[in-house]
Symmetry: C2
Subunit: 131 residues, 2 copies
């Protein structure tokens, strides 16, 4: 059984592609490229190359479909978000989730309803605490 190197943190360009795949589901290079081009001009072979590299890295996997390939993410969006936020937590906030939450809400004020939802989340978390 081969020992796999852990899935690396996606780069900026790779993250943009992952977000397309999370939204649209498994897609061909052409579909990803069309989706990306709306926000930012990106050549077809650029997207192809990135997806090839991402396959090597284990960020996506692919499957043959006739002459084309269909790519799909190997992590859910939630998993990747969790990893990235943990990463920022350790690199920038010394591991303090409280500090991060504080900065996030200061930087990007949430609406009343969003704040209420966060409160509900806190209630749930508190409920799970060993008391």
């Amino acid at each position: 059984m081969a020992r796999e190197t852990p899935v690396p943190r996606p780069t900026d360009a790779e993250l943009q592609i992952l977000r397309v795949l999370w939204r649209a589901g498994p897609s061909t290079v052409r579909e990803v490229q069309a989706s990306l081009a709306q926000a930012r001009a990106t050549g077809y072979t650029t997207v192809l190359k990135l997806l090839q590299i991402m396959t090597e890295k284990g960020l996506v996997e692919r499957e043959d479909a006739g002459r084309a390939h269909i790519y799909r993410p190997r992590q859910t969006e939630e998993q990747a978000q969790g990893r990235l936020v943990t990463d920022l937590l350790d690199r920038v906030f010394g591991g303090s989730a409280q500090q991060l939450v504080l900065r996030a809400l200061a930087a990007r004020p949430a609406s009343s309803s969003e704040l209420a939802e966060i409160r509900r989340l806190l209630d749930d978390l508190e409920g799970e605490q060993t008391e």
Copy 2:
């Protein structure tokens, strides 16, 4: 009056140096290097070079002190944290602070007292809302 390019996002190695400067206050290359070496072996000239580059980028500024230079950050830790968390918010969470908070607390559970502090923060934010 020259138009300055905006201060760029610090890289990983730059961030480690900034964290030292935030903790210890304005420091010489030697002091930064000694502080870094505890966690990770880093050559003296490596730290020097990084600080020179960071000066060019506007991440730090320096002042002569005899034959050495004293470096200090040009942003507070809070400002940098705000920028980095905003960055992650946009690149990974589509701008939703609520989603980020959810993932942060799921990834790194906070203690009861920390949750209480976040609640107080929510109260403050709610108080500021235009109602």
